[in-house]
Subunit: 388 residues, 2 copies
């Protein structure tokens, strides 16, 4: 008997309530029964994203929403600024280059985040930049970008502000309207804790204007078609959607609002801090040196000398049932990542750190057994998390 615990930055654990909704017999996607849910999910996503902008639902992974943001908004040859501090910054660069955009990249060390002053400099040097793309939470490193500050800078220029908030939104603050974010991408399987397979995207009126002028060919991800179908009575999607996932999202969104936005954020902050302090207590080094740059969705831990990182995560998974993530792109083999995102509570973090302790001991890493789990408990006590 081995229980399984998923502690990655997506997919994340799913509550029994959401799983049960997801497992219901399917409705037809053009039926009034489904339309009712589709309307509810769209409305709740707007509230979730804190926006009165259009929010469209796509059947794809988050990468599909990123592609839709690029191919619907720009035309071949348009100059864009991509803020790149990790694997998903690289992805925005690749997508933009693939569809013929003129990409100016603002590259940072993986583990660092973007400096709004650099964005200002790039925009001053290239006043013809049509859009700025940035990650809210960069899943490959765990840093968080200061989207509010970056957006304030971008607001002084004609460029659109495009945010991949896939692993960030719902875990930490992102005010789409208040911060003037033109396009924001999200996914079903991150802080929302629904199954994988659905992405969503918000479009400001300025983004909608840009979409009308875009000349890049698109069909499946044509947001004009998606918008047109979403405005039908009753609202629909142009193609058959991932019905069971949207139904699951409806429940997941309810659970988000029941817990309360501030409580969800606080939970994520506390869980992240517990993981980070416990890892440091075990003598491990975090990839993101500056605590102010650390996000709350995932923690990247450097694989120390003398430890086989691949074996470490394998031991955690095979012997203890705890799945964590390895590094991506150029950090493959150099870090491992513990996700603490979505339907994750204090004892999930305790389990992850305990499994990490066992796996580290197996490779002879020196630390006092139990130091990690004690630190996890301390963080919860000190932060008064248990009294809520």
């Amino acid at each position: 008997m081995r229980k399984n615990y998923i502690m990655t930055p997506g997919p994340v654990p799913i509550s029994e309530e959401v799983l049960m909704e997801h497992g219901r017999p399917l409705m037809h996607h053009r039926s009034p029964e489904f339309s009712k849910i589709f309307i509810e999910v769209t409305d709740k996503l707007k509230k979730f994203m804190q926006t009165s902008n259009d929010v469209l639902i796509l059947t794809s992974s988050g990468t599909g929403a990123m592609e839709a943001a690029v191919t619907n908004t720009f035309s071949v040859g348009d100059k864009v600024l991509v803020i790149n501090a990790g694997n998903f910054g690289e992805r925005f660069k690749k997508i933009s280059a693939k569809f013929g955009l003129n990409v100016i990249a603002l590259d940072y060390e993986w583990g660092d985040n973007a400096n709004p002053a650099d964005v200002k400099k790039s925009l001053d040097e290239n006043p013809d930049i049509k859009g700025v793309m940035v990650q809210h939470s960069e899943t490959s490193t765990g840093v968080i970008n200061d989207i509010e500050a970056i957006s304030k800078v971008v607001k002084g220029y004609p460029a659109l502000m495009i945010v991949d908030a896939i692993s960030g939104i719902g875990a930490s603050e992102l005010k789409v309207d208040e911060w003037s974010l033109d396009i924001v991408c999200g996914g079903s399987q991150k802080a929302l804790s629904a199954p994988t397979g659905i992405s969503f995207i918000s479009l400001s009126p300025r983004a909608c204007e840009a979409i009308e002028k875009s000349n890049i060919p698109k069909f499946y991800f044509d947001l004009t078609a998606a918008k047109k179908y979403s405005e039908k009575t009753p609202p629909q999607t142009p193609w058959t959607p991932g019905i069971s996932i949207i139904v699951a999202m409806n429940k997941a969104l309810d659970m988000f609002f029941e817990e309360g936005r501030e409580n969800v954020y606080r939970r994520h902050r506390t869980l992240a801090l517990a993981v980070q302090r416990a890892c440091e207590k075990l003598g491990l080094e975090l990839l993101v040196k500056d605590p102010g740059k650390r996000g709350v969705s995932v923690t990247s831990i450097n694989v120390p000398e003398g430890i086989d990182g691949k074996l470490l995560t394998k031991t955690m998974r095979v012997k203890y049932g705890v799945t964590v993530a390895g590094g991506q792109g150029k950090l493959t083999g150099l870090i491992f990542r513990i996700g603490h995102l979505g339907y994750v509570g204090i004892f999930d973090v305790l389990i992850a750190i305990s499994a990490l302790e066992f796996a580290l001991k197996e490779q002879g890493w020196k630390f006092e057994l139990g130091a990690g789990v004690v630190e996890v408990e301390k963080v919860f006590m000190e932060n008064n998390y248990l009294n809520e």
Copy 2:
């Protein structure tokens, strides 16, 4: 208490066994546990499609696979022949035109199917045609195309043979290798009876060669990336896939092989015949006049004069819980469609016809009450279906 019955050409009813697999807690898509299932599903899909070609799994509706077939195989300006006998033929035309192909259309009346001699004529007149696109089952009308005969024609020319088999494969014969089909698209939610959200696509060695030369930009649907990831150890997808749907497909594929290909085909043939004969017995006219052109996945019935088609399907759904489909595109309001595809048995057909009788009576349509359900029973008896 109203029980619900889904009798549309997708989504289709899902067995309890498949629903339970689909409702399981999610595995991580880069874990060995999921890789094992991913390998199994890929192998079973090859067997399902009767091919040794590469089969790639995409997280999208079937339209995504159609787009992938077009954008990965051709270059801007390439001449293609689109066989168009309905809404999904139109879709291939739209996708091809959108991505800059030079589309030669072979348009048929909706309700008719393609004549292989016309295909030969088009290819003779345009020897530079690079690909022929055709529906196996045209979901909007219910006709079936003679893919074997069309492919025999195409084989004499350099063009690639591309088949949208989304609503046909698994319900009626389609031999990918034996019939030399270069690209074939399928979906999770049709004959396979899994939830919506996954499509799959097979690629012959000739198709793979064409893919290397294609210059149309693509990213999410880049089949070269999908192929590269599918060849990793262990096999993966480039982006986060619809995990729960793939897990459900694994069970659905097992159930297909347990029932046996010939038995599944026979079941679909018999169910289709029962629906068609019962409708005629009720004095209704089928859209597809020639019985030889009728497919087995869905039956299109003309809305007779004096009957409000929209009200008819609404009555069936609201009062009797039986969801059937309306017409699509230019047949909207003129036909309704009863799906008999996937996890559908003889009593599902009996229920659909019974609900149709009640709804017809309500609008004063003249027929002997029960004539439809009696005919359904007769078809099963005459075809010796009950003795198996």
